[in-house]
Subunit: 144 residues, 2 copies
């Protein structure tokens, strides 16, 4: 398989910078609404996808110290968006889940992401959208 050219890489870098900006803006806006910081948002998104996960799971995934994650969980529990439970199977750990309020918050973020994605696809023709998604899918499958 031949390598991508430098010019192709540069072109993609520029395009990607713009796209990620849209996502960041969407994320920041939604975070502002709920007065949540970036870490808390990411934690909510992870727990939504991995209900019952442990604090260590989230800390590893988000690459922050356990104590930092514990503090974030404190905040989210205090604000009634997350729940800690001691699973009988291993009572050292905690099982994290989202409350209805936490899930509603995640839904808001996902809606924001959805808007950003819609805005990205909008300029394409229907056939182009299909082709674009086929290619992104192919790329995403090779994820590390």
């Amino acid at each position: 398989m031949t390598e991508p050219t430098q010019s192709q890489i540069d072109q993609l870098t520029i395009a990607f910078e713009r796209f990620t900006r849209r996502f960041k803006v969407a994320e920041a806006g939604a975070a502002m609404e709920h007065n949540l910081n970036a870490l808390d948002v990411q934690a909510l998104l992870f727990v939504e996808d991995h209900p019952g996960c442990s604090l260590g799971d989230v800390a590893r995934y988000l690459q922050v110290a356990m104590t930092t994650m514990s503090s974030a969980a404190d905040r989210l529990v205090r604000r009634d968006m997350m729940e800690r439970q001691r699973p009988e199977a291993n009572r050292r750990s905690v099982a994290l889940t989202l409350t209805a309020k936490g899930k509603a918050s995640v839904a808001g973020y996902m809606a924001g992401y959805g808007d950003a994605c819609r805005a990205m696809l909008d300029p394409l023709d229907p056939e182009e959208r299909i082709e674009f998604l086929r290619l992104t899918d192919k790329m995403a499958k090779y994820d590390i």
Copy 2:
């Protein structure tokens, strides 16, 4: 122009989540090397692209308070990565530029982004890369 379908939007959301993760990892890794936080990195990248810009320019772009930006500039100046100069034209403001050390740092980040982009394009065939970039270009042109 017809709307993208919900399923297309969902598909793109998932793919995009993966891609942004790669970029975040690259960014975090490079930031770790230089002991810089996220804001400082973004400020370096902006000033590299807008040499001579003011603190206000950067603060507006990155959507942080002026005082926050001033603190970030303090850090970067102290570490010899950025310079403040009083332009004669308007001596209320400061003109920000990067030092050689700052530019070297930016080059490191760009290399990281480049690697991430290369990794994205790698799984595609040469013709697919051309088509993919044509489509991203079309999408990016409609940027808000």
